[in-house]
C-alpha cells in the first residue's frame, strides 16, 4: 500500500486530481483501506475529501433530503431531519458494522462501493435516490438503480465523483429492514430485505441475493393490482423471488438464499390480519 495522498481544498482541485485514471477518492476509508491492504485495489493517488466542507451538508429540499458525500453514518443518525423523515435509512444504518465503522463510513461511500450487500444502498433504492455526479462535463443526475451496474461497478467515468445523494422522504410509509442469518452486527448477512408500505402501495428491495441490490418492481405492481389475499400471497412472493438471482458462496447456497427470502416474505406479508400488519 504505497500511494501519494492529495487533500484538495476545493472541488475544482478535486476534479483535477481525479483526471488521473489511477486516482481514488478516500471518504471514510472503511472499504478503501481494507481493499488497498488486501491488494484488491492499488491506486497510485488517493484523494481525501475531508477538507471539502460543502460535502458535509445534509439539507432539507422539501419533498427530498440531500446528503453530501462526506457525511458519516453517525452524523446521519444524529440528524433530526433524517430521524423524522427517513426511518428506513436509519433502520438500515443501525445495522451497519460497528460504532467505529459508523463514525467514519459514509452513505455515499456505500453507493460508490456498489456492493450487493450495501445496507444504506438498499434503503436508498427504496427511497428512489438520485445520485448527484460532478465531472469534467458538468453535473449529471442518475437514479441509484441505474447508477450501480454490477458488483463494485457504477457508471462513474474518469474525472467524475459523487457529490451528494438525494433521497425521498418516506415518513408516511411503514418501513421494515431486516438482515437474515446474521449472528451479530459485524457479520455480513446471507440476505437483507427492505420494505416500504403505504396502503395498497409497496416497495421492496433485496440485498446479497443478486449482483446488485434489486428492487422487485414487478412484484410491487402485482401487490397494488391484485393484493395478497388468499392464494394471491403465494403468487406475490413468487414474483418477488423471480426478481432475485442469488449465487452460491461461502456463506450460503443460492437455493438456501431463495428459501430464506421466501420464508421471510411469508412471515412479513402472511400475517393473519391484513398482509403486512407487522410492517411497522
Amino acid at each position: 500500500m504505497t500511494f501519494k495522498l492529495m487533500i484538495p481544498n476545493t472541488e475544482g482541485e478535486l476534479q483535477q486530481e481525479l483526471m488521473d485514471d489511477e486516482a481514488r477518492i478516500l471518504a471514510g476509508g472503511t472499504d478503501l483501506m481494507v481493499q488497498m491492504r488486501s491488494g484488491k485495489v492499488a491506486p497510485t493517488r488517493v484523494v481525501s475529501i475531508k477538507k471539502l466542507e460543502r460535502l458535509k451538508e445534509i439539507s432539507d429540499l422539501g419533498e427530498r433530503i440531500r446528503i453530501g458525500a462526506a457525511v458519516t453514518y453517525s452524523e446521519l443518525q444524529r440528524s433530526h431531519i433524517l430521524q423524522e423523515k427517513s426511518p428506513i435509512l436509519l433502520k438500515a444504518i443501525r445495522q451497519i458494522g460497528s460504532l467505529q465503522i459508523r463514525n467514519r463510513g459514509t452513505a455515499v461511500g456505500n453507493i460508490a462501493n456498489a456492493s450487493p450487500a450495501g445496507d444504506a444502498v438498499l434503503a436508498m433504492v427504496l427511497s428512489e435516490a438520485r445520485v448527484e455526479i460532478m465531472g469534467p462535463k458538468g453535473e449529471r443526475h442518475e437514479s441509484i438503480e441505474s447508477f450501480i451496474i454490477g458488483p463494485g461497478r457504477t457508471t462513474l467515468s474518469t474525472g467524475e465523483y459523487i457529490r451528494a445523494v438525494v433521497i425521498e422522504k418516506t415518513d408516511d410509509w411503514q418501513s421494515l429492514f431486516i438482515k437474515v442469518g446474521q449472528r451479530n452486527a459485524m457479520c455480513i448477512s446471507v440476505a437483507s430485505i427492505g420494505v416500504l408500505r403505504k396502503g395498497k402501495e409497496v416497495r421492496l428491495a433485496f440485498g446479497s441475493v443478486a449482483p446488485v441490490v434489486v428492487r422487485a418492481h414487478k412484484a410491487e405492481r402485482f401487490f397494488t393490482r391484485e393484493g395478497i389475499d388468499g392464494t394471491k400471497l403465494g403468487e406475490f412472493v413468487e414474483r418477488c423471488v423471480e426478481s432475485i438471482s442469488p449465487i452460491d458462496d461461502v456463506r450460503a447456497s443460492s437455493w438456501y438464499r431463495r428459501q430464506v427470502v421466501r420464508g421471510e416474505l411469508m412471515k412479513i406479508f402472511g400475517h393473519p390480519d391484513v398482509g403486512g400488519t407487522d410492517v411497522t
Binding site: T2, L5, L26, S48, G97, S98, Q100, N103, R104
Partner: protein, 158 residues
C-alpha cells in the same frame, strides 16, 4: 508530509509517509504500543482510539487524517499522578481482563461512550462495544465493569 495534532493533551508535529496508517504512526513512530493490531481490517476493534471524541479504528485511518485533530489513546488515560481512569480501575476490579489483548480498544470504546453519557443502559453499553471483539471473557464482566465505571464517574461529578 508534515502533520500537527494533539495526542493525549500534547502537541505533536511529525513527518509521515502519505500511505502510513494512523495505527502504525502511533505504534511504530511514536512508540505507543498500547493500541493493538488484531485483524487490520476493522473487524476486531483492538486498534480503537478516540479522535475528536469519536471511537474509530486506527487500522482504517491514514496518519495524515489525524492532522488537526485531538487524539486519545490508552496511554493518555492514566493521569500524570499515576491515578487510573475509572474505566481502567473498574476493568481490574470487576475481573474483566483475561489475556488483555482486546482491553485497550474496549476501554477506549467505553471511555468514548461515558464521555457522552454517564448513565448508559446495558443496551447502550453493548451497542458501544459491538465493534470490539474479545476471545476470552464472554463480555459479561466487561459490561459490568463499564456499568461500574459509569457509577464512579457519576459519584465523582457530584
Amino acid at each position: 508530509m508534515r502533520i500537527n495534532f494533539r495526542l493525549n493533551g500534547e502537541t505533536i508535529t511529525t513527518e509521515i509517509e502519505d500511505s502510513m496508517r494512523a495505527l502504525d504512526l502511533l505504534r511504530e513512530d511514536l512508540g505507543l504500543t498500547g493500541t493493538k493490531e488484531g485483524c487490520g481490517e476493522g473487524e476486531c476493534g483492538a486498534c480503537t482510539i478516540i479522535v475528536d471524541g469519536n471511537a474509530v479504528n486506527s487500522c482504517l485511518m491514514l496518519a495524515a487524517e489525524l492532522d488537526g485533530t485531538s487524539v486519545e489513546t490508552i496511554e493518555g488515560l492514566t493521569g500524570s499522578d499515576g491515578k487510573m481512569h475509572p474505566v481502567q480501575r473498574s476493568f481490574i476490579d470487576k475481573g474483566a481482563v483475561q489475556c488483555g489483548f482486546c482491553i485497550p480498544g474496549m476501554i477506549m470504546s467505553a471511555k468514548s461512550l461515558l464521555d457522552k453519557n454517564d448513565s448508559p443502559s446495558k443496551e447502550e453499553i453493548e451497542a458501544a462495544l459491538e465493534g470490539n471483539l474479545c476471545r476470552c471473557t464472554g463480555y459479561v464482566r466487561i459490561i459490568e465493569a463499564v456499568e461500574d465505571a459509569a457509577s464512579i464517574i457519576r459519584e465523582d461529578r457530584k
